[in-house]
Symmetry: C2
Subunit: 181 residues, 2 copies
């Protein structure tokens, strides 16, 4: 039962809350999940077909809409599969920050260039933090409306705390760059 494809698990996770189209799944990835996970259409659509073939999800054409719209639902088998995966120990937590990579090799280009990367990083974080803070407010207000909200809040708090720490690091990093010999 090992070697679960991550994309299958994420999709089933999203479908466990609500029925969705492939397009909507991608939107969830790009908004709610983007702070700790991502996926492309190139993996979503093939995975959806595969999940249906394996009986973990069902596909239904939306007749009410005028669009070519395929709505996916999780099956009982799919829910079992998701639960099994959720019980397995974590395989990998991975950070892939190009900013840190370029800073690590920064001596090759010097302080000025390093500063540019740090400030761009700082700008991106400052732009994203408000969305997380807004999510925190909403979730705190609706905590007892849905059991799932507590779990969402857990990940939002992670994001807020780390982003605030990133901003502190940016300050210190700029000092270290300027101050050091």
């Amino acid at each position: 039962m090992a070697n679960e494809k991550k994309i299958d698990c994420v999709i089933l996770g999203l479908l466990s809350h609500e029925e969705l189209t492939g397009y909507e799944i991608k939107k969830r990835m790009d908004t709610t999940l983007k702070y700790f996970w991502s996926a492309s259409y190139g993996s979503i659509y093939p995975a959806l077909n595969d999940l249906v073939h394996r009986g973990l999800a069902t596909k239904r054409e939306d007749t009410s809409s005028k669009r070519n719209k395929q709505i996916y639902n999780i099956t009982e088998n799919g829910r079992d599969y998701l639960k099994k995966w959720l019980s397995l120990p974590i395989e990998k937590d991975e950070l892939r920050y190009e900013t840190l990579l370029k800073l690590f090799f920064g001596s090759e280009k010097g302080e000025e260039q390093a500063l540019i990367h740090i400030e761009a990083f700082e700008k991106r974080i400052k732009e994203e933090l408000p969305y997380l803070l807004h999510a925190e407010t909403i979730l705190n207000e609706s905590l007892n409306e849905d059991t799932a909200h507590k779990y969402y809040l857990l990940t939002v708090e992670f994001g807020i705390k780390t982003y605030q720490t990133y901003l502190e690091w940016c300050k210190e990093a700029k000092k270290l760059l300027a101050g050091g010999q």
Copy 2:
């Protein structure tokens, strides 16, 4: 000049400091760089061959060693290529934390399982933090021995700060899980 393969850039970055074998490059990835980047043999060895073909690195058989050892050096063209890449804006900073993914879908399995994942995460971070703190000490002591050390320190400080924040989050997350309805 866009679309630089990341693996090429990382290898050239490492070679810009010292000559290395493929095996040694992998070791650097698994120790120093692992906090913000990773790579497998399956990308390293083909990339090394490719870099030599493109004149960005040179390969030399080590005759002094009894092992089948290929030592790689960066060329002037390679150094130019690295510098060009270092000047380009960051394309992507990405977090891929399976722990957060499983917590997000945590309501499906409940608090007990969520707690297990948080505590496993906490344990991993606690185990890794000492290595970063040790690196910090070493780098602070040798800051004026090598210009590059300041840049290494920048990334180490990032790791220390975020890891400490992770540990704080773990505490709060456990409280939130237990306390909330």
